[in-house]
C-alpha cells in the first residue's frame, strides 16, 4: 500500500514508521497517490493566530468573539475540551469555561494570514475555491507531473510549510470529490490528514448521520428524520424520484450524495455570491448615532473582506431586524462596483435613512453583492461629491498604515460611536 511520511515527505511501500526519519506520522492508503480533490481547513484558525502572536496564551483556553450577547466565533482546542463550540452564545461558553481568555477578533490580521496561506496554495494549483478565510477546496488533478510528486505529498508539504512559515496548523481531507474531501478534513483534526478512497466510499458513509452533509441544518435534519432518514444507509433506501418529490431539488442532490457522488467542480468564483457582516446588539436600540457607528464598522468589515478577496460589489444591502424580530432588507445598485468602505457606508446609511422604520432594532447588517473583480471597481468619480476621491485615497492610505501597525493604529471618529 502506498505510504507517505508526513514529517519528511518520503514516500514508500507500507510500514508503521518512516524508513527515512523513523517518524510514526505515516499516511498509508491504497488510493493515496491517485486522489486529487482536497479540502484544507485550518485548525481553530483565529485562536491559532492569536496564540502565535501572543505566546502567553499558548497554554490557556482562548475564545475569539465579542460582547455578552455575541457568539463564539472560534474556540481553541483547550477551550473545546470544556465543551465550548463555535456559534455558541458567549455567556454559555463562559459558563462552561470560566477561565477562558476572550479575545476580540482582529480581522485584518486573519485576512493577512489567509492571504499568505492562499499564496502557498497557489503554488500547488490555480484551481482553488476558498470557502472562508480558513478553508478552501483545491483540485490538484494533473499537477503530479508539474510538481514531480503526487497531490498527497504536495498537500502534506503545504501544511508543513503553513506550520513552519506562518505558525498556523491545518487539516487536510483528500478524496475524489468536494463533498467527501470536506468530510475527510474534519475526521482527524487538528493537524489531520484523512483520505477517503473511491473503493471505500459506500462503506464509509453507510452509518454516518446525514447531518454531515453540508447544507443539512437543524430544520432539514428534522424533516429528514420525520421521514425516517437518519443515516446515509437510510437515505440510500430511497428512490431518486421519491426524494425529489418529498424534498425538492435538495432531495435530488441528497440521492447523489448518499452514494458519495458529487460532480461540483472546484472553482474560484462559485463559492462567493456576496460578502456581508451583521451584528446583534447588546441591547435593542433606536439611536441613530449608535446605529450609524455600527453601519460604519460593518461597512469597514465588508470592505476589508472584499479587499482581501480582491473583489468589489455593485449592490449594497442593509439588513435590519426589529426588536419584534421583523426582518427588513433594503438594497440599491450602484453605477459601478465598489470596495471602498466609505462608499459602502454612505450607501448603507442612505438606505437606513429611507428604511421607513424607526426601530428599535436588535440586529443590523451590511452586505455587498453582484460581485465583480476589483479591477472594475471605483473607476469613476462623482461630480456631486468631489471629495469622494480624496476620501477613497485616505482610506487606501489608512489600509496601508493598518497593515503595518495594526487595526487600531488609525480609526475614524465614527467608529467609536
Amino acid at each position: 500500500m502506498p505510504a507517505l511520511c508526513r514529517d519528511c515527505l518520503t514516500t514508500f511501500e507500507t510500514g508503521a514508521r518512516c524508513p527515512a526519519c523513523r517518524s510514526p506520522r505515516v499516511l498509508a492508503h491504497p488510493e493515496l497517490f491517485s486522489l486529487s480533490i482536497a479540502h484544507m481547513d485550518c485548525d481553530a484558525f483565529y485562536a491559532s493566530v492569536e496564540k502565535r502572536d501572543n505566546p502567553e496564551l499558548a497554554a490557556k483556553p482562548v475564545i475569539i468573539g465579542g460582547g455578552r450577547r455575541g457568539v463564539v466565533s472560534t474556540a481553541c482546542y483547550i477551550a473545546r475540551i470544556k465543551g465550548v463550540r463555535s456559534a455558541m452564545p458567549m455567556f454559555q461558553a463562559l459558563k462552561l469555561c470560566p477561565e477562558a481568555v476572550v479575545v476580540k477578533p482582529r480581522m485584518e490580521v486573519y485576512v493577512e494570514v489567509s492571504r499568505q496561506i492562499r499564496a502557498l496554495m497557489e503554488e500547488l494549483t490555480p484551481s482553488i475555491e476558498p470557502l472562508s478565510l480558513d478553508e478552501a477546496f483545491m483540485d490538484l488533478t494533473g499537477t503530479a507531473r508539474l510538481h514531480g510528486h503526487p497531490p498527497a505529498v504536495m498537500l502534506a508539504k503545504l501544511v508543513k510549510r503553513m506550520k513552519s512559515e506562518l505558525g498556523v496548523t491545518g487539516s487536510i481531507g483528500l478524496s475524489h470529490n468536494k463533498f467527501l474531501a470536506k468530510i475527510a478534513s474534519d475526521l482527524d483534526k487538528p493537524q489531520g490528514f484523512s483520505v477517503i478512497g473511491a473503493a471505500e466510499t459506500e462503506d464509509f458513509l453507510r452509518d454516518k448521520p446525514v447531518r454531515m452533509i453540508w447544507g443539512v441544518g437543524q430544520a432539514f435534519q428534522a424533516s429528514l428524520e420525520s421521514a425516517g432518514i437518519r443515516t446515509f444507509a437510510d437515505l440510500r433506501r430511497w428512490e431518486q424520484k421519491e426524494l425529489a418529490a418529498r424534498f425538492g431539488s435538495s432531495g435530488a442532490r441528497l440521492w447523489h450524495l448518499a452514494r458519495g457522488q458529487d460532480k461540483r467542480r472546484v472553482s474560484r468564483d462559485s463559492g462567493l455570491k456576496s460578502i456581508s457582516n451583521e451584528t446583534t446588539f447588546f441591547e435593542d436600540t433606536a439611536s441613530a448615532d449608535i446605529l450609524d457607528g455600527h453601519i460604519w464598522r460593518l461597512s469597514e468589515k465588508v470592505s476589508a473582506r472584499a479587499k482581501a478577496k480582491e473583489l468589489s460589489g455593485r449592490t449594497v444591502t442593509l439588513k435590519l431586524k426589529t426588536a419584534k424580530f421583523k426582518l427588513l432588507t433594503r438594497r440599491t445598485t450602484l453605477r459601478e462596483p465598489t470596495q471602498i468602505a466609505d462608499r459602502i457606508y454612505r450607501t448603507a446609511r442612505d438606505l437606513f435613512d429611507h428604511a421607513g422604520h424607526d426601530g428599535p432594532f436588535r440586529l443590523i447588517g451590511v452586505g455587498l453583492s453582484d460581485l465583480a473583480p476589483e479591477a472594475a471597481a471605483d473607476l469613476s468619480g462623482d461630480l456631486l461629491d468631489p471629495d469622494a476621491g480624496k476620501r477613497a485615497e485616505a482610506e487606501r492610505a489608512t489600509d496601508t498604515i493598518r497593515a503595518r501597525f495594526g487595526k487600531d493604529a488609525i480609526l475614524k471618529g465614527r467608529a467609536l460611536r
Binding site: 453605477r335 471605483d378 473607476l379 469613476s380 468619480g381 462623482d382 461630480l383 456631486l384 468631489p386
Partner: protein, 372 residues
C-alpha cells in the same frame, strides 16, 4: 352618456391618456381613463397620482355624462379599428358597462364609477408664461439623457428647470445630472417666467411632455408652482407634481479652469468611440483618449476580449494628455451636438471635462473621467 367621435381623433386623445396610466398598479381605478362628454366635446383624463393628463377632443355629444374604463383596453380597440371609422361610445350606468361601436364591431367594457376617479388637486401657480414648442423641445431633449435613475438620490431623477443668469443674460435653464455627467441648457427667458420657482420635473413627466412638443408652431402655456408644473396646448393639459427635494448646487461642479482644448467633428468622434468600444464586453466600457498635437487616438483595452484603436485628425495644441471615459457617456454627450464641432476642455485625467457645441454658449456638458 352617449357620443360619437372620429376614430383618428379618439385614438390620438386616448393614446396620451393610456401612456400615463401605470401598467402595474394595485388601485384598479388608476388603470382607467375618465371620459366626460359635454357640449360639443369629450374630455379624457388619466392619472398615476403624480401626473395627470387631460385631453380634449371634438365629438357629437348626444347625451352628456361621464364614466371610467380601462385605458389600455380602449386604446387597443381603437387602435385596431379601421381608419376613418366613426366610433360611438355609450354607457349603461346600471349595468356598469360602456358600449363601443364602430361599423359592425361592438364591445362591452366594464366601467368603474366616475366618482371614484382621483382628480388632482388644483394648485396656485405663481408663474405663467408661454414658450414655443421648439424651445422647450431643445431644453429637455438636450438635458434628459443625464437624468439619474438612482433611487437613493431621488432629487436627481428629473430635470431641474429654473431661472438663471446665463452668458447672455436671464435664461430659462434646464439642468440634469447623475453624478457622472451633467447637462446645462439655456433658452432666453420667456416673459412672465421671472418669478418662477426652480422645480425638478420628473423623468416620466419629461417623457410625456415630449409628446406635446412635436408641432413646431405650437405655443405651450407653462404654469409653475412650488409643488406642481403644468404644460398645456389648446387640446392637452399635462399637470405633474415636481420632485420634492433640493437639486444640488450644480454650479460648483462646472469646471472653470480647464485650459486644454480639443475641437473635433462631433459625429465622427461619436462614431469612432462607438467603433473602438465594440471590442469591450464589460458592462461599463472604458475608452482611453490619447491626445497629441492635432491627433487623437481612441483606444480600448479589455483584458478578456481584446483591444482596439482608432485615430482621428483633430484640433489640439496642448501638451500630451491621456484620459479615460465611459464610452456610453462620451457618445451620448457627443450626440447632443447638432451642427457644430464638439469642443472639449480638459484639465487632468482625474478632473471633470467640459464640452460645448462650437462657440454656442447656451448648452454645456460636463463628464467625469474614469481611471483606465
Amino acid at each position: 352618456m352617449k357620443f360619437s367621435i372620429e376614430r383618428a381623433v379618439l385614438l390620438k386623445a386616448i393614446a396620451q391618456a393610456q401612456s400615463v396610466v401605470e401598467r402595474r398598479n394595485t388601485i384598479p381605478i388608476l388603470a382607467n381613463v375618465l371620459i366626460e362628454a359635454e357640449g360639443d366635446g369629450v374630455q379624457f383624463r388619466a392619472t398615476d397620482l403624480d401626473i395627470e393628463v387631460v385631453d380634449k377632443a371634438p365629438a357629437m355629444v348626444e347625451k352628456a355624462g361621464a364614466t371610467t374604463v380601462s385605458a389600455v383596453t380602449l386604446h387597443e380597440i381603437v387602435r385596431k379599428l379601421p381608419d376613418g371609422a366613426q366610433v360611438q361610445l355609450s354607457d349603461d350606468v346600471a349595468a356598469g358597462r360602456l358600449t363601443v361601436e364602430a361599423g359592425r364591431s361592438n364591445f362591452q367594457l366594464a366601467t368603474l364609477p366616475k366618482e371614484d376617479f382621483p382628480v388632482m388637486a388644483s394648485s396656485e401657480y405663481g408663474a405663467n408664461f408661454s414658450a414655443d414648442a421648439p424651445t422647450l423641445r431643445r431644453l429637455f431633449d438636450k438635458s434628459k439623457f443625464a437624468i439619474s435613475t438612482e433611487e437613493t438620490r431621488y432629487y436627481l431623477n428629473g430635470v431641474y428647470m429654473h431661472v438663471a443668469t446665463g452668458e447672455d443674460g436671464q435664461a430659462l435653464r434646464c439642468v440634469a445630472t447623475d453624478g457622472h455627467r451633467l447637462a446645462r441648457v439655456d433658452a432666453p427667458l420667456p416673459e412672465g417666467a421671472e418669478t418662477m420657482p426652480g422645480v425638478i420635473v420628473p423623468r416620466k413627466t419629461v417623457g410625456e411632455l415630449r409628446k406635446l412638443l412635436d408641432d413646431d408652431e405650437a405655443k405651450i402655456a407653462v404654469s409653475v408652482s412650488e409643488t406642481k408644473v403644468r404644460f398645456a396646448t389648446p387640446e392637452i393639459t399635462l399637470t405633474s407634481k415636481v420632485i420634492d427635494g433640493t437639486f444640488p448646487d450644480y454650479t460648483r461642479v462646472i469646471p472653470t479652469g480647464n485650459t486644454k482644448k480639443l475641437e473635433v467633428d462631433a459625429a465622427e468622434f461619436a462614431k469612432a468611440v462607438d467603433l473602438v468600444s465594440t471590442v469591450s464586453s464589460e458592462r461599463s466600457r472604458a475608452v482611453k483618449l490619447s491626445l497629441d498635437e492635432d491627433r487623437l487616438v481612441l483606444s480600448v483595452n479589455s483584458p478578456d476580449s481584446g483591444a482596439g484603436t482608432a485615430e482621428l485628425a483633430v484640433a489640439y495644441g496642448d501638451e500630451h494628455l491621456e484620459i479615460g471615459f465611459n464610452a456610453k457617456y462620451l457618445t451620448e454627450i457627443a450626440s447632443q451636438v447638432d451642427r457644430e464641432n464638439a469642443v472639449f476642455m480638459f484639465n487632468s485625467a482625474g478632473d471633470p471635462t467640459l464640452m460645448r457645441e462650437g462657440s454656442d454658449t447656451s448648452a454645456l456638458y460636463v463628464v467625469m473621467p474614469m481611471r483606465v
